[in-house]
């Protein structure tokens, strides 16, 4: 990305980046035949399993993404924990 480009495109949303991110998600979802409903259910199930070991987790806070890798794909789950519990230790 050169100087001219940043000059002329600084404030415009880059649609190529949007396309790339959307495709990254849709390609792995296609490959694993994963529907949006299944992803929602997966979050609820993950929250239920973790609740056995950790303080209650809100499934809506969980972010699940499938990422394409060189040799294999990865399931990445970002699960925020409430910090309040740690200060009690």
């Amino acid at each position: 990305m050169g100087f001219f480009d940043s000059l002329f495109n600084g404030r415009q949303g880059r649609s190529a980046q949007v396309a790339k991110e959307r495709l990254a998600t849709v390609l792995v979802d296609d490959r694993y035949k994963l529907t949006p409903e299944m992803k929602e259910q997966m979050k609820i199930d993950i929250a239920a399993v973790l609740a056995r070991y950790l303080p209650a987790i809100d499934p809506d806070q969980i972010e699940v993404t499938l990422l394409r890798g060189e040799a294999s794909d990865h399931l990445k789950a970002d699960i925020p924990l409430r910090r309040a519990q740690q200060s009690d230790l």
Binding site: M1, L23, L27
Partner: protein, 266 residues
Amino acid sequence: MARIITITSGKGGVGKTTTTANLGTALAMQGAKVAVIDADIGLRNLDVVMGLENRIVYDLVDVVEGRARLRQALIKDKRLPELCLMPAAQTRDKDAVSPAQMIDLTNQLRQEFDYVLIDSPAGIEGGFRNAIAGADEVVIVTTPEVSAVRDADRIVGLVEAAEKGPPSLIVNRIKPRLVNRGEMLSVDDVLELLAIQLIGIVPDDETIVTSTNRGEAVVYDQSSLAGRAFLNIARRITGENVPFMAITDQQSMFERLFGMFGRRRS
């Protein structure tokens, strides 16, 4: 013994037929014996793209059903005696041929040619399965658009499932100016998404339209960027190590210069 290479894409209209015609012509220009097969039964087009539509007597289905011998259905190119076209049937549908028959056909061609290029129909159904049945290698053509890339990925999965080995990729109709503005997926973006081997980058080029209008391959046009790109791909297919053209920066520099002087490239 020929190498049998299928050109496919999933999505229609991304340039499979143009690619097949130009790679076939380019390989024959290098002295190879080449047969190009139109496997798009019912929607034949490779003949008009190559300017051979007036010479068709027999087609692929005639050969498969025994009405014509292989030699009778192979049409010689106008310029290159070592280049032949096997046209698709126009009045039949895709079920007229089975994968086993395609394997049989390609094995017969294998004896007489160095390269057999198969132009696949769009889609993932029977016609596509016929087109890859006899293939040793698969080349996937895509354009830098979400729909084409998504469909290309489906094809990657199907080609791997058919145990054809990893397919290679041609990214067609790149518009350098849009890529530079961040408004079109770059070749690197597409490669990252599809994670397969790149064999060619073809810039969007108006000479494709004019050469197709005339039924001539664009590889004859020395001034055509797309023509040079196809020649390079043909050399890579033969095993030569040809660096990829740095089309993105060069061309956009030109376009910017033109832009500065208030001219527009129409």
